[in-house]
Amino acid sequence: MMFPIRCFTCGSLIGDKYEEFKKRVQMGEDPGKVLDALGVKRYCCRRMFITNVDVIDQILPYEESVYRKGKEYQVVR
């Protein structure tokens, strides 16, 4: 659902670098160069960044709308 904290293969810490990676790639930088700059050397760790899909960001809007609806309902009652 969320980006893994450690690399599946080698176990090194990658979780703290993901947000910067995502931000810089969205700004239009080359993903390979961003990973080099972040010090992610091995291809096991690099594929974790390139292939991740943040499913939680697709789920949370529903949770949020349920919360807002619940609030509305309380006001009407």
Partner: protein, 276 residues
């Protein structure tokens, strides 16, 4: 018999072993991965969880967070005299997480884990743990314990631990300095200077033999061989302790295991002697 540190930083160490049998150095390599004790969250008591994550997912994510491990400050739960399932102050550290999203979607970071002990805390405060939508709340107590990599990879102190043979690269008499081997080498070991083949940094060589294959001279103008009793051990730390500490602790753990074997054997010898 000689040990020499070739490169050293907090997270990476490169050591050259000379005159030791391969099996001994390999035992150290394996011990660095599976025997060095490190701290990781093992038990999680979830008091409240209204987030989109299952309790198990939260517990697993917490366990993966690497914690700073002070060497020798804590004992393994199996070796502690408390024999309690949740442990005592000598064998566990309590970390508390109490977070609630306000009116916006919020990311919870590892820096929000409040530890009982300042020495045992996440190595980075910027690891995203959870994402909460408005109104969601998570409250939990997590118990960190010492453990070994062979039980679960969350306790693995080293991410990389490799043993490499020491390469011996020799330029032969039939070399015509054509430069084909220089182009074939991806590790930049070779170069041509003033029309002559130079071996610049032999330690980078990964013994792939591409240079020997690329050589057109007959017999081959370059030879690459593994040294018989010279090995390079490379250890890279996840961050819970320095690479040097991992290496030293791996050796310590190995010695204590061998001591256990000696102890067991000496008992057997006494029994046999009694029986005559």
């Amino acid at each position: 018999m000689q040990v020499q540190v070739l490169e050293e930083s907090y997270e990476r160490i490169k050591v050259l072993f000379e005159g030791y049998p391969r099996i001994y150095v390999n035992a150290i390599r394996r011990a660095a991965l599976s025997l060095v004790p490190t701290m990781a969250i093992d038990d999680v008591v979830i008091l409240e969880n209204s987030s989109s994550f299952y309790d198990e997912v939260i517990a697993h994510r917490l366990a993966m967070v690497p914690l700073k491990t002070p060497v020798g400050k804590y004992v393994l739960p199996s070796e502690c005299d408390c024999k309690s399932s949740l442990g005592c102050p000598r064998c566990r550290v309590l970390l508390v997480l109490d977070v609630e999203a306000g009116d916006k979607v919020r990311t919870v970071y590892s820096g929000e884990l409040v530890s009982e002990d300042e020495d045992v805390k996440p190595i980075s405060p910027n690891i995203p743990l959870l994402k909460l939508s408005p109104g969601q709340k998570v409250k939990l107590e997590a118990y960190a314990k010492l453990g070994r990599g062979k039980d679960h990879s969350k306790w693995q102190a080293a991410s990389v631990s490799v043993l490499k043979s020491y390469p011996i690269i020799v330029k032969g008499k039939s070399c015509d300095n054509c430069g084909a081997c220089v182009d074939a080498c991806v590790k930049n070991v070779l170069s041509i200077k003033e029309g002559l083949l130079q071996i610049d940094n032999p330690l980078n060589c990964s013994l792939c033999m591409e240079c020997v294959r690329a050589c057109k001279s007959e017999p081959k103008g370059i030879s690459v061989e593994e040294a018989e009793d010279k090995f390079i051990l490379i250890i890279e730390s996840v961050g819970s302790m320095s690479a040097r500490d991992i290496l030293l602790n791996a050796v310590k753990e190995l010695i204590s295991q061998v001591d256990k074997v000696i102890e067991g054997l000496s008992n057997v010898v006494v029994e046999v002697e009694k029986k005559g």
